[in-house]
Symmetry: C2
Subunit: 264 residues, 2 copies
């Protein structure tokens, strides 16, 4: 079936899934664009509800399309209709709507791991997605997204995460609660702070079970959360501070390297 | 003097300085917005040609305004005119135009240092600015921007660099030439590659004089440049790769920590 009208019901729904969190929440669906994310979602075993492919997209990405056809309903749309849905300047013409996993009950599972990243009020979608990608790449085994974080299922987070969000176990839950429960499971929890008197990254041998909290780009880790944690400082030589995603990268590297020996 | 027309000559010039590289090059001026960048530029001793302050900005940031008044011509503009110039949604109402330093002849000076970051075709302005900020923060002493990099004097790079671009010595020059000259000055030069057979970051003790090349976000380090370098791999556990700015952060951390002992 070829969808030729911008007002087609599926076209309208798809457009709103990309742009409106409340529609994603109501439908229990996320939306993503591009062949890379579509393939990563399939590989990760996510349930894809449906896909839209532009006429151009089906010519350019026949393999992705046939993969999708095996897994869900695929609608073909005209290039014009696709462009009216897409949030991208030069879209590849591949859109998927997939089931959001309810990860809110997953904290116990996440705490079975050893190395965890906790994010306090990371509002920038690009930063959030990048941190998830970096964490997965460097061997962090789970993430906790505290209140005030960007919607992890927004298209911008999915894109910046390059699919890591489909794989890295994470849950959204109050950090105060997550920290209390992590401590019960023998985690040591640090908050990354711009505080030269804190313990210095690089000097510190992280305990086997360690969680690190990264704060908001402008304001850092909130006081209430920080109070529950040991303080961790990345020694800064020039400049005033690191961008939150850069700080996360350095911390994930140090945290993840602890057991590099096991991975060789 | 209060500027009340969007068509005022200075207003037009300011708008174009923000948005057009060719105007910046022709005038030899960069343009930046916000009190933070204005203060950092002054602190770094850059020559500010003129500043624009909106009526709102002069109420909110009297200290920055009086600092600027001591250093350059300051024009007050109506909030409407300021908004017509600004590239930001909620501008602070502070604009500066400052002299671009000709850094192209600086390679010899940069090579007097020990730890250098070289960027090959980093096209994203936000990434480029973040890398400069990260490099300065973590103790890298200079940067070389190869061809294909974003304009380091663009407002977006300046903003992402949080002023580091005013301080970190850098120059724009062909990387092939820069690498040859660095080797003549006893540098060891590595290219960060997604190549598991390369030397691994973390295993490697960097020589005293080390330069590392970070490549383009999508394509990595170009073949011609890579050929001249040792290969360096960041061990990746999950995901396929790191975002270029995250890779730069991890590498700057390892490169900069070599002499943390001197900084304590």
């Amino acid at each position: 079936m070829l969808i030729t009208s911008r007002k087609n019901e599926t076209a309208v729904k798809s457009r709103r899934l990309l742009s409106e969190k409340k529609i994603r929440d109501r439908e229990g669906l996320f939306a993503a664009e591009g062949f890379k994310l579509a393939e990563e979602a399939l590989k990760a075993g996510l349930e894809i509800e449906y896909a839209l492919i532009s006429e151009e997209g089906s010519e350019k990405f026949p393999q992705t399309v046939s993969l999708l056809e095996k897994n869900c309903t695929v609608f073909t749309v005209t290039n014009e209709v696709y462009q009216s849905i897409s949030e991208q300047k030069s879209p590849q013409g591949i859109f998927i709507a997939g089931k959001i996993l309810d990860k809110s009950v997953n904290l116990d599972k996440i705490l079975e791991n050893d190395k965890i990243l906790m994010l306090d009020c990371v509002q920038d979608s690009g930063n959030l997605g990048t941190m998830i990608r970096t964490a997965e790449a460097l061997g962090i085994e789970g993430a906790v997204l505290g209140s005030g974080c960007a919607d992890p299922w927004s298209p911008k987070v999915l894109r910046a995460s390059m699919g890591s969000i489909f794989r890295l176990p994470f849950c959204g839950i109050s950090l105060s609660e997550a920290i209390d429960r992590a401590k019960e499971k023998d985690f040591t929890v640090y908050a990354a702070m711009l505080d030269g008197t804190a313990q210095r990254l690089g000097d510190l041998d992280f305990p086997k079970k360690t969680a690190v909290v990264i704060g908001n780009e402008g304001h850092g880790v909130g006081a209430e959360v920080a109070e529950k944690c040991g303080k961790l400082y990345i020694p800064i030589k020039g400049a005033e501070s690191l961008n939150a995603a850069a700080a996360a990268a350095v911390i994930c590297w140090e945290l993840g390297r602890n057991d590099t020996s096991q991975n060789r």
